[in-house]
């Protein structure tokens, strides 16, 4: 039953996104514009930005995540559908899981475009041979973003100043993700191949994701029912 509910909710989000194309397109455009701004801001004198690649990429992805997470309940809120979901016998943790999966997929779609672009914008030296390692770190970071983002967007949903509350809550929670994502990227970009450092950051991201999964499971009922 839970699997059927989860599948139905994820399918609903993907159908809405395929029909409206409002979230992923906005996220991709935002990320590209931000990468361009960072490139113009830091690389005007043909500077080598390779050592800043991790930071520039993960700051971009963090702000892109805020945009995507902020839109995660737009359909429910603007079309006033939330009561329909809440009056159905769906465990709140299934609502959380479905939204988290949708956000995870949106972030992954954005990164498929952004990660190669980062190599073009910022890296002088080897990049493409390390893209697989960056992608693994990105998937772990996406888990953290999806779980924490769903929790905070659920909390912000019931506040009047939700557009302000969400970044204020969510961005601080992303700081460890940015640090670890940037660290893992830095460890493998531009000819560096420090797999021990990369592994350490990835383990941290996995632990952070588990932590937020536990916090979300423990609190999500209260978010919607209280």
């Amino acid at each position: 039953m839970r699997r059927r509910q989860l599948t139905a909710l994820v399918r609903k989000d993907l159908r809405l996104e395929l029909r409206t194309r409002e979230t992923i397109v906005a996220m991709v455009l935002f990320a590209i514009v931000m990468l361009a701004i960072l490139q113009f801001g830091f690389g005007t004198r043909d500077d080598d930005l390779t050592r800043f690649t991790g930071g520039l990429m993960w700051v971009t992805l963090a702000f892109t995540a805020v945009l995507g997470v902020g839109r995660s309940y737009v359909a429910e809120r603007e079309q006033r559908v939330l009561d329909g979901l809440l009056v159905s016998p769906v465990p709140r943790v299934v609502l959380l899981g479905a939204k988290a999966i949708a956000i995870f997929l949106y972030m992954t779609a954005v990164e498929i475009i952004v990660i190669p672009l980062v190599g073009i914008f910022f890296v002088k030296g080897p990049y493409w041979d390390s893209i697989g390692w960056i992608a693994i770190a990105a998937l772990l970071a996406n888990l953290c973003i999806a779980l924490s983002g769903t929790l905070f967007s659920g909390l912000a949903l019931f506040t009047r100043a939700r557009d302000l509350i969400l970044p204020v809550l969510f961005l601080p929670a992303l700081v460890p993700v940015v640090i670890a994502g940037a660290g893992a990227t830095h460890a493998v970009v531009g000819g560096a191949h420090d797999m021990s450092e990369w592994r350490g950051y990835c383990l941290f991201l996995a632990a952070y994701a588990i932590l937020f999964a536990l916090v979300s499971i423990a609190t999500y009922d209260a978010v919607f029912d209280d």
């Binding site: 079309q79 006033r80 559908v81 009561d83 329909g84 009056v87 159905s88 016998p89 029912d225 209280d226």
Partner: protein, 231 residues
């Protein structure tokens, strides 16, 4: 079906529902009336498990609420002011979603049957955004009935239903008397709802000021009872 004792809900300092007792037995259809701000919708949302009572005891379909709200929700059908459907999904996709959330068996056949009943079969693959208000509310009626609920909770249903939808709803309420379903109908249209209900409960300032059976009374007589109660 419903046992409520001393239900209270407050928005800040103001008590929207203030110590309401309510019992509902199978097959009973209650018109819940009152002036604007009397607490009708708040009480209905409490019965629907959408908001928690601040105090009091509530048992819905044999399940204590809020502790066992999820079990109660399997048997609740809720029709709100808004259709509670996604505008950018088709009629069929919306019903598929809700059917999966409620674990409805034989979902495809059930959806086709309901869309036929609400006269939307020809528009099954159209997005709800292209529907008129009345059509969307008929789809909401199909959504409410999809999982064969035993308790119908209706918030001013006739206000937004078109003639076809209103007639279908009246048929459902008439059928409810015979098949043991119960219904609470929040309404301002007391005379209209009097034809399909057995009892009227009137709220004023969050309190029950009238709770009387109306079978045997004609609609104008029910209207007079209501007006005396809120005067």
């Amino acid at each position: 079906m419903v046992t409520a004792r001393g239900l209270v809900h407050a928005y800040g300092e103001r008590r929207a529902v203030d110590g309401v007792d309510l019992d509902l037995v199978p097959g009973e259809r209650v018109a819940l009336a009152g002036a604007n701000g009397a607490g009708k919708s708040t009480l209905l949302r409490m019965l629907a498990t959408l908001i928690r009572p601040k105090s009091g005891d509530l048992v819905v379909l044999g399940h204590e609420v809020p502790d066992h709200a999820r079990a109660a929700r399997t048997g609740i059908g809720y029709l709100a002011h808004d259709p509670l459907v996604y505008l950018d999904l088709t009629a069929r996709q919306n019903l598929e979603l809700y059917g999966d959330l409620y674990g409805v068996d034989g979902l495809d056949e059930r959806i086709l049957d309901l869309l036929d009943q609400v006269d939307l079969l020809a528009r099954a693959e159209d997005t709800v955004r292209t529907f008129s208000r009345g059509m969307a509310q008929r789809l909401a009626l199909a959504r409410m009935l999809l999982h064969r609920p035993r308790l119908l909770l209706l918030d001013e249903p006739h206000a937004s239903l078109d003639a076809r939808g209103g007639a279908l709803l009246d048929d459902q309420l008439e059928a409810a008397r015979h098949d043991g379903r119960a219904a609470v109908i929040v309404t301002h249209e007391v005379e209209r709802v009097a034809r399909v209900s057995d009892r009227i409960v009137v709220l004023r300032g969050g309190r029950v000021v009238l709770d009387q059976r109306t079978d045997g009374l004609d609609p104008p007589a029910v209207r007079r009872l209501y007006e005396e109660a809120i005067a």
